[in-house]
């Protein structure tokens, strides 16, 4: 089974802090994703990466950056945390089969982040 592990289940930080959310997958997947989940809005894509050191912006990248130095690890960084970034953050990974985009994404259990 694919395992996607997010380093923290719950995190409380203060406004203005730099926050790091870590995600590791153990199935050698090329693609990795960061979403935020808010009630009534579903999942919104922040950033994704299809290879080491590669990244692309999703729908809501403002205020966030990412890092992918190794294939198995994808980090989300809140450069200067604000209260409107309080949310559930979900990491996911998927296999890339050379043009075949029908592979499902596998999710971690999420990090519930509160910015005070």
């Amino acid at each position: 089974d694919v395992k996607v592990t997010q380093s923290s289940r719950y995190l409380v930080k203060r406004t203005g802090e730099k926050v790091f959310l870590e995600c590791v997958q153990d199935m050698d997947h090329e693609n990795m994703f960061w979403y935020r989940q808010d009630p009534g809005l579903g999942l919104r894509l922040i950033y994704f990466s299809y290879d080491v050191k590669m990244k692309e912006k999703g729908d809501i990248p403002e205020g966030y950056s990412v890092s992918r130095e190794k294939k198995e690890r994808f980090s989300l960084i809140l450069e200067s945390a604000s209260t409107n970034q309080t949310s559930m953050y979900l990491c996911a990974s998927s296999l890339w089969r050379g043009g075949d985009s029908n592979q499902p994404q596998h999710f971690g259990d999420g990090t519930r982040l509160s910015i005070l």
Binding site: L41, G42, L43, E56, N102, G108, D109
Partner: protein, 114 residues
């Protein structure tokens, strides 16, 4: 751009009754369609997907979904609901021409009552 609509925020059914969770989609090309389930304090779990072929797709835990191209729908169904099916369900769509651009619906909370 692709999009997904889940018209019901909440669906309530009695245990043993059939359930349907609705999903409609919009893509400019042909779609790949997915259903995921989320239990409390957990990430999303993949249930089933439609790629091509038979319009009725069978997935995990006895769930199935019917692809209807003319109605651009992909409703999730189960013949006999269990209390343990109570969870948040998400429909997702991807244009087959576009990798990594999956769009999720807002989610439907299913409650199955004993």
């Amino acid at each position: 751009a692709q999009s997904v609509a889940q018209p019901e925020d909440q669906v309530n059914v009695a245990e043993g009754n059939p359930l349907t969770v609705k999903c409609t989609y919009s893509v400019s090309g042909n779609p790949y369609l997915f259903w995921y389930v989320q239990y409390p304090n957990r990430g999303l779990q993949f249930l089933l997907k439609y790629i091509t072929g038979d319009n009725l797709v069978k997935g995990s835990y006895g769930f199935e979904a019917e692809f209807n191209k003319s109605q651009t729908s992909f409703h999730l169904k189960k013949p006999s609901a269990l209390v343990s099916d109570s969870a948040l369900y998400f429909c997702a769509v991807r244009d087959i021409r576009k990798n990594n651009d999956m769009r999720f619906g807002a989610g439907t909370r299913l409650t199955v009552k004993p």
